[in-house]
């Protein structure tokens, strides 16, 4: 992780000096994480890909505005967050993602693919804010302070959303946690 940070910083410095190849390497390192984050947020593969494209283009265009290269991950995900919510607001002006009807989680033994789909459905049952908190913390490993910067809200709000989401997920995935998972 330390090596990666150092290398990211080096790549960012080179990209800021106009070395496009360095930015391409940086992009290839982060594209899967950004794409998965966007995919779980917007729930649509094509939209997530288009948004990923926009995110990396905007990041390149604004790379000189990044004060501290060490903050690149949070800065990148803030761009991704803004892009995703622009799309969500356009598609759903009421500002709230549709919540899929709750589906019971079978207690039968699950294969990894089934378990993945179960988790996916459990995430979809969360509100958009709760789901994003989980995505940033559980899957991207950001600190509370970084999440607060990405989401433009206080740390207390971040913790509230995350903890509520984790309680809901624990409840939804309880059958799995009780022995369904392999």
């Amino acid at each position: 992780m330390i090596f990666r940070e150092v290398e990211d910083r080096d790549l960012i410095a080179k990209a800021r000096r106009g070395q496009v190849d360095a930015y391409n390497v940086l992009l290839s390192r982060w594209e899967k994480r950004v794409f998965n984050y966007l995919l779980r947020l917007v729930g649509h593969r094509e939209d997530a890909f288009d948004l990923s494209q926009d995110v990396f283009l905007k990041a390149y265009q604004n790379l000189r505005k990044l004060d501290d290269p060490a903050k690149f991950p949070g800065w990148l995900f803030r761009i991704a967050h803004n892009e995703a919510y622009s799309l969500l607001r356009k598609n759903r002006p009421e500002g709230e993602l549709a919540v899929e009807p709750k589906t019971g989680v079978s207690t039968a033994r699950m294969y990894p693919m089934e378990l993945s789909l179960t988790v996916e459905r459990a995430l979809e049952q969360l509100s958009a804010d709760q789901r994003e908190a989980v995505l940033l913390k559980v899957y991207q490993g950001f600190k509370f302070e970084e999440m607060a910067e990405i989401l433009s809200c206080p740390v207390s709000t971040v913790k509230s959303r995350l903890y509520t989401a984790l309680d809901l997920l624990k409840e939804t995935l309880a059958p799995v946690n009780m022995g369904g998972a392999e």
Binding site: V20, D21, Y23, N24, L27, S28, E31, K32, F35, N36, L39, R45, E46, F49, S52, Q53, F56, L57, Y60, P112, M113, L115, S116, V119, E120, L123, V134, K137, V138, Y139, G141, K143, F144, K159, L162, Y163, L166, L169, K170, L173, V176, N177, A181
Partner: protein
């Protein structure tokens, strides 16, 4: 349930949760809650990470190459050159289009104007030439007149001299005759 003073979720996810280890050793319910949170986290991590449907386009890809007008727009020196070229074009356009906006039929009016000017100049030149010729003729006439008058005066003077000579001759002849006559009369007495 866990104790409300202990932030187990922060602890599970690597945040600073304070001195929690000692509490866990003495609190069965918190240990069980911590275990549930870890199992839940393990289940969450089963979510498959999806590959991108295709590679995200690199900045160096053809699709991001600026169009020719974008390249010019982003280039300072080129923009300066383009501005100068546009300004020059505007000046030329203004210079060529301005007479057309003032005069409705520029071709006809220009020809008439030119014709008028040419006629004026020709008239002036002809008048000047005629006057010069007249002056030359007058001078020649005056000169000839002087010559003729001088000749006439000389001839007149010569004629007068001849007349006086003739008159003197005849007076001498008359005097001689008178003398002869007187002599004749005096001898006959």
């Amino acid at each position: 349930m866990s104790c409300s003073s202990v932030d187990l979720k922060a602890y599970v996810y690597g945040e600073d949760a304070g001195p929690i280890e000692e509490h866990l050793r003495s609190c069965q319910s918190c240990r069980e809650e911590l275990e549930r949170l870890r199992v839940n986290h393990t289940a969450l991590m089963a979510l498959e990470q999806v590959e991108t449907p295709q590679r995200i386009a690199y900045i160096s890809d053809k699709v991001f190459e600026p169009r020719w007008w974008q390249a010019i727009w982003r280039s300072g020196p080129a923009m300066g050159f383009a501005s100068a070229a546009l300004l020059a074009a505007a000046i030329f356009a203004h210079a060529f289009t301005r007479p057309a906006t003032v005069i409705n039929q520029p071709g006809a009016v220009n020809t008439a104007e030119i014709e008028r000017q040419v006629n004026t100049r020709v008239d002036a030149a002809v008048t000047k030439a005629v006057s010069e010729a007249e002056a030359r003729q007058a001078a020649m006439f005056a000169k000839n007149l002087d010559v003729v008058e001088k000749r006439f005066a000389d001839k007149q003077q010569a004629d007068m001299a001849n007349v006086e000579q003739v008159v003197r001759y005849y007076e001498q002849q008359r005097s001689r005759l008178l003398v002869a006559a007187n002599d004749a009369r005096g001898g006959g007495q």
